[in-house]
């Protein structure tokens, strides 16, 4: 270390200075598996100096349930049941890419009505997931009431999903070739068609109007609030290059300025028939990530309203044999989940179930940027940044 008082080093007396370094040891803080804000059982081993975080190591795996192993011994309808528990907040959107992969291998053409129903339910799942994000993020930043408003408005959407499919979070409504056609296979159950129930259009219109109003209320209650802006603006800035390098996807990527939405490339759902915007952020900080999701909620509500007006009629499922065996082949299907990009890599050997199923989840890649973003952040910022990434541990650990 250069001694500043050494006469040879002093160019002029005005530059003389004494530097005293106080040696401090960092405290290792375990933001442990049980914590109010980690969205599940995520463990972060953080080296903290006072309030500043120096180094964060995430420890994953507390919620690993072994999906890929479970899928080796089960058939396609059974795996559909399991798979919507990966991202349990938006249950329906996990089933769709898996079934689309099997349909792609079998080369089945799905009827139009089934595609529209699938699209409506996927967008409702997206709205439901973003409601949870809005309420829970406000709770982590400190505002204690928006979560109640979010849950109240979300109940309407979940009731709609329940009236069509029978389940709120785990609908299990997709079948290879379309959606669930009838309640059973017996002589009378075959006639009990599981189409949209009476009153669905009216209730959906009411619910979507309320969703748009709720998004406006969130903008007023939280988005314009000075304290919230101070907590989230310029906090956790993620540049577009870093985001693309780490494989981050979904609203986080869009908030960093990259206009990439997989819905434009999805061919198994009719997104090209509808008119919607793709909200893109500027700075890539926590405020932009929050704002992008609120605007996405409004866009999803608009898509559902358009889809209801233009629902084609027709059968609910294509003609499939009674015992479905998917021919040999392999395929990878991508989808735009509410949390990011989800992908299924299915390897089939002609049997009742896949030979190998690999699940690529959005939250696993999103969590990988935590050590980069949390360098030098304060402890409250850590909570704000983690909340804005919107991951769910079921999605991370599968």
């Amino acid at each position: 270390m250069v001694n500043a008082l050494d006469p040879q080093n002093m160019n002029s007396f005005s530059e003389a200075s004494v530097s005293v370094e106080i040696e401090t040891e960092d405290m290792t803080l375990n933001i442990g598996p049980q914590h109010p804000s980690t969205h599940g059982v995520l463990r972060l081993v953080a080296k903290v100096d006072g309030e500043k975080v120096h180094d964060v190591k995430p420890v994953l795996g507390y919620m690993h349930r072994g999906y890929e192993k479970l899928a080796e011994v089960r058939s396609y309808p059974q795996i559909t049941t399991l798979v919507n528990r990966i991202d349990w907040v938006a249950g329906f959107s996990n089933e769709i890419p898996f079934i689309a992969g099997a349909e792609r291998l079998m080369e089945i053409e799905v009827p139009e009505r089934a595609k529209h129903i699938r699209l409506i339910l996927t967008e409702m799942a997206r709205i439901s997931s973003h409601f949870v994000f809005n309420g829970a993020y406000a709770l982590e930043v400190g505002a204690l009431t928006p979560i109640f408003y979010a849950m109240e408005d979300r109940e309407r959407v979940l009731d709609l999903i329940e009236s069509v499919t029978g389940g709120r979070f785990h609908p299990n409504f997709n079948r290879i070739g379309g959606v669930k056609p009838a309640a059973g296979a017996g002589p009378t159950s075959k006639k009990n068609i599981q189409d949209l129930p009476a009153g669905f259009y009216r209730d959906t219109k009411v619910a979507m109007e309320k969703v748009i109003q709720a998004a406006d209320q969130f903008q007023n209650l939280i988005g314009g609030n000075e304290v919230f802006k101070k907590r989230t603006k310029n906090v956790g800035v993620l540049t577009a290059e870093t985001a693309e390098a780490y494989g981050v996807s979904g609203p986080i990527l869009r908030a960093s300025g990259v206009k990439s939405d997989l819905r434009t490339q999805t061919d198994y759902l009719p997104y090209d028939q509808f008119d919607y915007d793709i909200p893109v952020g500027e700075n890539g900080d926590c405020y932009d990530r929050w704002d992008v999701r609120v605007k996405e909620m409004i866009e999803s509500a608009k898509i559902v309203l358009q889809a209801i007006d233009s629902m084609p009629s027709g059968p609910l499922q294509a003609k499939v044999p009674k015992v479905i065996k998917v021919p040999q082949g392999r395929t990878y299907v991508r989808a735009e989940n509410p949390k990011g990009e989800m992908g299924y890599y299915i390897v089939s050997d002609g049997g009742l179930g896949p030979y190998r199923l690999k699940v690529r989840t959005a939250s696993f890649s999103n969590v990988s940027i935590l050590p980069i973003m949390l360098e030098g952040a304060l402890l409250p910022d850590l909570i704000a940044i983690m909340g804005s990434l919107d991951f769910v541990l079921g999605d991370v650990d599968r």
Binding site: M27, L29, H35, P36, S37, G50, E51, A138, L139, E140, V141, G142, A143, L144, T145, F148, Y149, E152, L221, I222, N225, V227, F228, K230, R231, L378, L379, P380, D381, I383
Partner: protein, 323 residues
């Protein structure tokens, strides 16, 4: 001797009742703001739930972890409670209904209220828990930082009233005809309310408790009666600071147009009403705002509130001397 005992009993009853009223206002108000009914099945539509809470905490086991510093840990809640209850002694409910009308009433109140800092800091440090430690350190910084705007805002009132005794300040407001908040101390009032919210460690200044990060901060390791003392003294603190604010700025026990012979009867009611209105505003702020980060909090205190209060004193002094 009996007079002292009566006064102490009066203090205890008023303190507890104030805390209970504010608990009901906070919890029931929060429930209504969140579109839900709140505690319903405990008593008369749920309004006697503080009694149930007190009984629940009293009968719980008192858990003391092995590695704590035992004497410090045990006595920390006492500091906080003493600093709250002692404030009740100077607030007047009418010109004669006051426990002790000291000449230096305001000075006494501000000095005693800063004792609570020791309790919070020692509670955080002595619990052998890193999260409590962080809560205690944040609390130390916050409470000390916000003492200054609190004191400086009151100095403006003292200059305008020319006396430090609380009864004297109310009498001065009666003499002027308008309460001080209208008569020139509006800035002082706002500074006092912001600083008082920070002294009580309520949202938006509840970093030391920081519920979504530190799960109860410096109070994490406390259970049973010790936690009850912390909890009740938080609401007592809220009650008494709102009462002091309404005495200093809003005119205390006085309402124009009512006859002054009956002031011993309507004085307490008027003071309670004004305190409740201020408390309601604090409750609405608590349940709608996010919380500040620690450095933004300190920023607010040192760079915004203290200069504003110094300017307030300057302007008050000039107006007092000039007119």
């Amino acid at each position: 001797m009996t007079e002292v005992l009566i006064k102490v009993g009066f203090l205890a009853i008023v303190a507890l009742n104030g805390a209970v009223i504010f608990t009901i206002m906070d919890v029931k108000g929060a429930s209504w703001m969140q579109r839900r009914p709140g505690p319903l099945h405990v008593g008369l539509r749920g309004f006697i739930f503080p009694l149930a809470e007190i009984l629940k905490f009293v009968q719980k086991e008192d858990i003391i972890p092995t590695e704590v510093d035992r004497p410090v840990f045990k006595w920390a809640p006492a500091y906080v409670m003493v600093s709250c209850v002692a404030l009740f002694a100077v607030v007047p409910m009418s010109p004669t209904l006051v426990v002790a009308d000291i000449e230096l009433g305001v000075f006494f109140a501000l000095a005693i209220s800063s004792l609570g800092t020791i309790g919070v800091l020692t509670a955080g440090w002595s619990s052998a828990n890193k999260y409590s430690l962080m809560g205690g350190l944040r609390a130390a910084g916050q409470l000390i930082a916000y003492e200054l705007p609190l004191i400086l805002a009151v100095v403006g009132v003292v200059i305008q009233a020319e006396t430090m005794s609380l009864v004297g300040i109310v009498e001065k407001q009666i003499e002027w005809g308008v309460p001080f908040v209208v008569g020139g101390q509006i800035v002082g009032f706002l500074i006092f309310m912001v600083a008082a919210t920070a002294e009580m460690m309520r949202v938006p200044f509840d970093m030391p408790i920081g519920e979504s990060e530190l799960t109860m901060g410096f109070m994490t390791e406390y259970s049973g009666i010790r936690f009850l003392i912390f909890y009740i003294s938080e609401y007592m603190n809220m009650f008494i600071l709102c009462a002091i604010a309404s005495t200093l700025f809003l005119g205390g026990y006085h309402v124009p147009l009512l006859p002054t012979e009956w002031v011993n009867f309507y004085g307490p009611i008027v003071l309670l009403t004004k305190t409740a209105i201020l408390g309601f505003i604090l409750v609405a702020v608590r349940w709608s705002q996010p919380r500040f980060r620690e450095d933004q909090l300190q920023n607010l205190a040192w760079k915004i509130l203290i200069p504003a209060s110094l300017v307030n004193i300057l302007v008050t002094a000039i107006m007092k001397v000039g007119f």
